[in-house]
């Protein structure tokens, strides 16, 4: 199948999100402004004000209500979308769990940003990394093109009747949200057709009747009841089961989308770069991978066997894919743009080292905390990491398992 004719637009990451949501024929958007996500809400309001989109826009009084309204709109049968960042996501924390627990397929853009205090508006991944256990699919993007593509895919993933899992798409605050890029966009009708309309799985209600899983006066169902020790555990297990099915659906949707757009990000789960014969590699999420790729090219041109593994899908964690991608790598540096205070390294490091414990190759795995509060990550830091990895290979030991880079010590 030939890819569709596309239109190049100059969009920043936020605008790319809003544009993708508009094309995805969202029914309800409930949102609250918070820097650096505000542009998403502003653009979307303009679409509504100009009649460019058929959406109920609910300008709520807090992020807590934003996500709540999206949850209940989704439970009523609507396609629901919101966006947030930092403190806003933290305020949603309670409802993140309620949304996934009610199996409401909400899609949310998270413009990744540091958490207060001290207050800071710039990029790091503290806000969404802390929410990794809340039952949402998490996708982290590298650039604005990918965020456009990922938001469209996110609706199709979330609303898959086998999953009904909410999806958050993380894009780096300011680095992506406020930076203009050329973004290839698909025609409106094609996106609408790709995403389709919501389908509802059939469930058995309290009267033993088979009913669509939504709030419908014709087929009353009770959603969000009190669920004690006799059933709660099973329901949590079902959520985990859906998570386990998710990689397959994410890959499928990613592949279907590639057929119309011509764009792929690895297999949709992981995005390896020159890993085939790499001896050393960096593992990271988000926009920093763009810088790392440039350095990989540079070092490769000098004959060094270096590579990169960008995790696109962090939840569910693509364990098999990661294991396979890193099977021949001897020394690995995991970059974390968030901190687990008092822990042994950052969230991505925990996962990668944990997965590799079972690998027969037992590679060296070191952790680099970087870029907190929007601190720049220039190429020389990436160079340093690859040099460190080289030294680890030569000396056969890691001097410091967890270290901070790019800051005054």
């Amino acid at each position: 199948m030939a890819t569709a004719k596309q239109k190049m637009l100059a969009l920043n990451g936020d605008e790319a999100v809003a544009y993708a949501a508009k094309q995805s024929d969202v029914d309800v958007v409930a949102a609250y402004p918070i820097t650096p996500q505000t542009i998403i809400v502003e653009r979307f309001s303009e679409y509504v004000a100009n009649g460019e989109v058929d959406t109920e826009f609910v300008c709520v009084e807090s992020e807590h209500s934003a996500l709540t309204a999206c949850l209940t709109a989704a439970a009523t049968g609507a396609r629901a979308f919101t966006a947030t960042a930092s403190a806003g996501l933290a305020l949603m924390h309670e409802i993140l769990y309620v949304t996934s627990g009610c199996r409401a397929p909400v899609v949310m853009a998270v413009v990744n940003r540091a958490l207060s205090a001290p207050i800071n508006i710039h990029c790091d991944h503290s806000d969404s990394m802390v929410e990794r256990d809340c039952g949402w699919i998490q996708i982290y993007v590298e650039n604005s093109q990918e965020v456009y593509d990922s938001i469209i895919q996110a609706f199709k993933i979330a609303e898959n009747p086998k999953l009904l899992l909410p999806v958050m798409v993380g894009l780096d605050g300011f680095t992506l949200s406020h930076t203009l890029e050329n973004v290839q966009t698909l025609p409106d009708d094609l996106v609408k057709k790709f995403v389709g309309t919501r389908q509802f799985p059939l469930v058995t209600n309290h009267e033993g009747k088979t009913v669509p899983f939504k709030l419908d006066p014709k087929t009353p169902a009770t959603i969000g009841p009190l669920d004690l020790y006799d059933y709660y555990y099973e329901h949590k297990r079902q959520q985990e089961e859906a998570m386990r099915m998710a990689p397959k659906i994410i890959r499928q949707v990613h592949e279907e989308y590639a057929k119309i757009s011509g764009r792929r990000y690895g297999d949709g789960l992981i995005d390896p770069y020159h890993l085939e014969d790499a001896e050393t590699a960096i593992v990271c999420v988000g926009s920093t991978s763009g810088t790392v790729k440039t350095i990989v090219d540079e070092l490769r041109s000098k004959g060094m066997k270096v590579g990169l593994l960008r995790l696109r899908t962090f939840r569910p964690l693509p364990v098999k894919e990661i294991t396979k991608a890193l099977e021949n790598v001897k020394a690995i540096a995991v970059m974390d743009r968030s901190l687990s205070f008092g822990g042994h390294g950052g969230a991505v490091f925990h996962e990668i080292r944990h997965i590799l414990y079972d690998a027969s190759t037992h590679p060296y795995v070191a952790n680099y905390i970087y870029g907190l509060g929007g601190r720049d990550t220039p190429p020389n830091l990436i160079h340093k990491i690859y040099r460190d990895l080289q030294r680890i290979l030569e000396t056969q030991r890691i001097e410091k398992t967890v270290q901070f880079i790019g800051l005054r010590e």
């Binding site: 009084e61 807590h64 709540t68 309204a69 209940t72 009523t76 309290h206 969000g224």
Partner: protein
């Protein structure tokens, strides 16, 4: 603005229940009675949403439910946001032809904790946005679901587990927040107060709140024998005493215009019918300590405050 809906006791008795028996509310629970009466006021397809609270807990213990209408609970502080999302979804799905072209009403229920305290932000926001829904506050005047802790709706002098009547502090020092007036101040088209004893008034007001376009607020005083330390057979009678003492007058405000409802109007016209607050207070163990000699002045204070608020209400209703 309102239909000419009339009903007899027989109509109500014969109308199928949508809030079913078998729930686990305590004996004498007035909130359960209130829910049942309100479902009798429904005019057609309805979606109900609940804040966390005792009525949510007793009516939907998985895998059981007492609800014959679609029902959703998400959290404690956000029932008005629940209603906002449901209403927005219904509006757009109807516009896009994805659901039948019929009116579906939305009712949000919350207790006093979920309204006066933790839920007031979401409530104020939803009402400001003008969503078309009825918000029912079933006010049992404390966090009864968690063991009788004081809320912004707990009355002055009441002993609760977080405002206990001690040797130095005689129960709750603060007064009840005038929540229904706060909602009227939001300039909503309909707000009213009700008690289960005046069931016809309650059902009529619930129906008006459903019928009105835009947000409506119904404040129902709902005695809780566990928390109020009252006789389980007296809950409905106590709700009548609240009206007869003018502790909880019945009124409605249509587009901000206050009007006394029949039971309270009768007292306004014949002030000698107004009962002293003791008649109400003495029915409840939570006020027992007020009847000791050293706390006598507290009852006088409560009476003074009730009188002051009653006069204020009469003025709002254009009676004095």
């Amino acid at each position: 603005m309102f239909s000419e809906w009339k009903f007899t006791a027989k109509d109500i008795a014969e109308k199928p229940d949508l809030f079913m028996s078998g729930h686990r509310a305590c004996a004498g629970c007035a909130p359960a009675t209130v829910l049942r009466l309100i479902t009798k006021a429904l005019r057609g397809p309805t979606i109900a949403t609940f804040a966390t609270g005792c009525m949510e807990v007793v009516s939907t213990i998985y895998p059981y439910t007492s609800w014959k209408v679609p029902w959703i609970h998400t959290a404690f502080e956000n029932v008005a946001a629940n209603a906002s999302g449901i209403e927005a979804a219904l509006k757009i799905l109807k516009k896009k032809g994805r659901i039948p072209q019929e009116q579906v009403d939305v009712i949000a229920f919350a207790g006093d904790g979920g309204t006066y305290d933790i839920g007031i932000q979401a409530l104020s926001g939803a009402v400001e946005r003008g969503h078309d829904f009825l918000y029912v506050l079933y006010d049992n005047e404390a966090y009864m679901n968690t063991g009788i802790q004081r809320s912004g709706g707990t009355p002055h002098g009441a002993s609760t587990t977080t405002s206990p009547a001690g040797t130095v502090i005689p129960g709750k020092l603060e007064y009840k927040k005038p929540i229904a007036d706060i909602m009227v101040a939001h300039d909503i088209p309909y707000a009213a107060t009700a008690v289960p004893h005046y069931w016809r008034d309650l059902i009529t007001k619930a129906r008006k709140g459903i019928e009105v376009n835009g947000p409506a607020f119904l404040h129902v005083l709902a005695p809780c024998p566990r928390g109020w330390r009252s006789d389980i057979s007296k809950s409905i009678e106590i709700s009548r005493l609240a009206v007869e003492t003018c502790i909880f007058p019945l009124w409605e405000a249509v587009n901000g215009e206050y009007q006394l409802s029949a039971a309270s109007k009768a007292i306004a016209l014949r002030p000698e019918r107004k009962k002293p607050v003791e008649e109400y207070l003495k029915t409840q163990g939570r006020f027992r300590h007020l009847f000791t000699p050293q706390n006598k002045q507290l009852i006088e204070e409560i009476q003074k405050n009730v009188d002051r608020r009653w006069q204020k209400l009469l003025k709002l209703c254009g009676i004095v």
